[in-house]
């Protein structure tokens, strides 16, 4: 029989994978990998502010991740170089977050849980937050699927078709901030972007349509969660990084399969 904490961990990981997989597909198609990284690094600043002000950590993370994503989008729209802006903001937010956390009494020892996740300590309340957030992200993506896809192909083309690409970008930004907030406890701020990008990249070589790539990315993310937890149990390795390592193995397998198909 599995222990309760393991079942909760598996459910938490699968919940994150359900949101991160399809969202990750958009991150890959729009070449926003570094954007995802920056938003997730900013989560640490959200943790610090939440702990300092006695607010729920999820709320602090969500607010700061959203603020970061909106700031980056707005600066990029004004002609700022995207990669430099992301580099400055992402690492500054992480550094300020780490400095700010050190001022909050009694938190220093728990910092690695926020950096690398603590999936084995997921509570029932955390599960409600993770699945609620993931369901919201999936609902947003299904609702706006066609519009998001058209905006991804070409924003001017989308505008000429009567869509508002700015609104679609905002929806994607909101979904990204929500995913960062729900994934913080599972894989930690430093590895959230990996859960967005690696399953989607692994699915890309196997899928035939955008929709099947989104579904496959969620399935690969879920399988990586179960595989990573198994790895963690067998070899006593940290759970969050083990999940990402399992996803990376899935990517390697998919890339090899794709290469074999082409030869």
């Amino acid at each position: 029989m599995f222990d309760d904490f393991l079942i909760r961990a598996a459910l938490a990981g699968i919940g994150v994978a359900l949101a991160a997989g399809p969202l990750g597909a958009f991150v890959v198609w729009r070449r926003m990998a570094y954007f995802g990284d920056a938003t997730s690094h900013a989560a640490i600043l959200g943790v610090a502010l939440a702990l300092a002000s006695d607010l729920p950590v999820g709320l602090g993370t969500l607010a700061v991740a959203l603020l970061m994503a909106l700031t980056v989008s707005s600066l990029a729209a004004r002609g700022w170089a995207m990669d430099t802006t992301l580099g400055v903001l992402a690492h500054s937010a992480l550094a300020f977050g780490l400095v700010a956390v050190s001022f909050v009494p009694g938190v220093r020892t728990d910092l690695s849980a926020y950096l690398f996740g603590d999936i084995l300590a997921v509570s029932a309340a955390d599960l409600v937050f993770i699945w609620g957030g993931a369901a919201l992200v999936v609902a947003l993506l299904i609702w706006r699927w066609s519009a998001l896809l058209t905006s991804t192909l070409n924003e001017d083309l989308a505008h000429a078709s009567g869509l508002d690409p700015d609104r679609e970008r905002l929806i994607l930004t909101l979904a990204l901030a929500l995913t960062v907030a729900v994934a913080l406890k599972v894989v930690g701020a430093l590895l959230i972007a990996a859960m967005l990008i690696i399953p989607a990249a692994a699915a890309r070589g196997l899928a035939r349509t955008p929709e099947s790539m989104a579904v496959l990315a969620a399935l690969i993310g879920g399988a990586a969660t179960l595989g990573g937890l198994q790895l963690s149990l067998l070899y006593d390795t940290p759970a969050g990084p083990s999940i990402v390592a399992a996803a990376a193995l899935a990517f390697a397998a998919s890339a090899t399969l794709g290469k074999l198909r082409r030869t």
Binding site: R30, W143, S146, T150, L157, A207, T209, M213
Partner: protein, 237 residues
């Protein structure tokens, strides 16, 4: 035939990006049902002007579309697509997505599929519906982009260097399409580098290098001296 496309009036349009002046006080008028070309050097603001017209850039000044009746369909052919070329999307999926009739996770209706096949055949792309967008050559992708713009029939067509990636046959096809559209009274705003094609096909031309350098009838205004001035930046605004 009375024009079904709108007249376009730009008055004092200006645009700055990251401290750089991209467009300065651009004023021009496009006649309804005409083919109006925009020419100029790289970085002269041609594509930015189109993006202002599409409402994609926060600009200064006024842009007014004067429709003969109810506002019609605006179609746009971009210079390139931005997405990751590994996106698993076939030509058929691409056109179905842009037709706006494809609900999430459902296959398009048979009527939509039949229309897509006809569009592709018209563009010389019969049999390419199952090819991935990322696997198409530049010229083939340009033809697909033109296919999406022509169905449903546009009233205003905005083209951003449609001939850039095309071979001779592709360029001839675009010329035929433009002549067809002119006969139907569609307004065409056309950014183009091929000045010989502009002389042959456009009614009027505006030379742009951040500001309007010169404009007039396409057949008479594009003299070798003016073109040299424009492209060697001697006429920079």
């Amino acid at each position: 035939m009375s024009p079904r496309g709108p007249g376009i009036a730009l008055a004092g349009v200006g645009l700055s990006l990251g401290g750089t002046k991209v467009l300065a006080d651009v004023s021009l008028a496009v006649r309804p049902g005409s083919i109006h070309a925009i020419v100029g050097p790289n970085g002269g603001g041609k594509s930015s002007l189109l993006r202002c017209l599409l409402g994609q850039m926060p600009h200064r000044g006024r842009i007014v579309l004067d429709w003969p009746g109810e506002a019609g369909r605006i179609a746009y052919v971009p210079q390139a697509l931005q997405f990751d070329t590994g996106l698993p999307m076939t030509v058929r999926d691409f056109l179905a997505t842009l037709s706006g009739e494809r609900p999430a996770f459902l296959r398009p209706r048979p009527a939509t599929l039949a229309r897509i096949e006809a569009q592709l055949e018209h563009m010389g792309l019969a049999g390419k519906a199952d090819r991935r967008m990322g696997a198409l050559s530049g010229g083939e992708r340009q033809r697909v982009l033109l296919a999406q713009a022509l169905d449903p029939a546009p009233d205003l067509l905005i083209l951003d260097e449609p001939m850039a990636a095309l071979d001779e046959a592709g360029a001839r096809m675009i010329e035929a399409v433009l002549q067809e559209l002119r006969a139907q009274g569609v307004t065409v705003l056309w950014v183009e580098h091929d000045l010989a094609a502009v002389r042959r096909l456009a009614d009027r031309v505006t030379a742009l290098n951040r500001g309007v350098v010169f404009e007039g009838e396409a057949r008479s205004v594009l003299t070798p001296e003016r073109v040299l001035d424009l492209l060697s930046h001697r006429a920079a605004a």
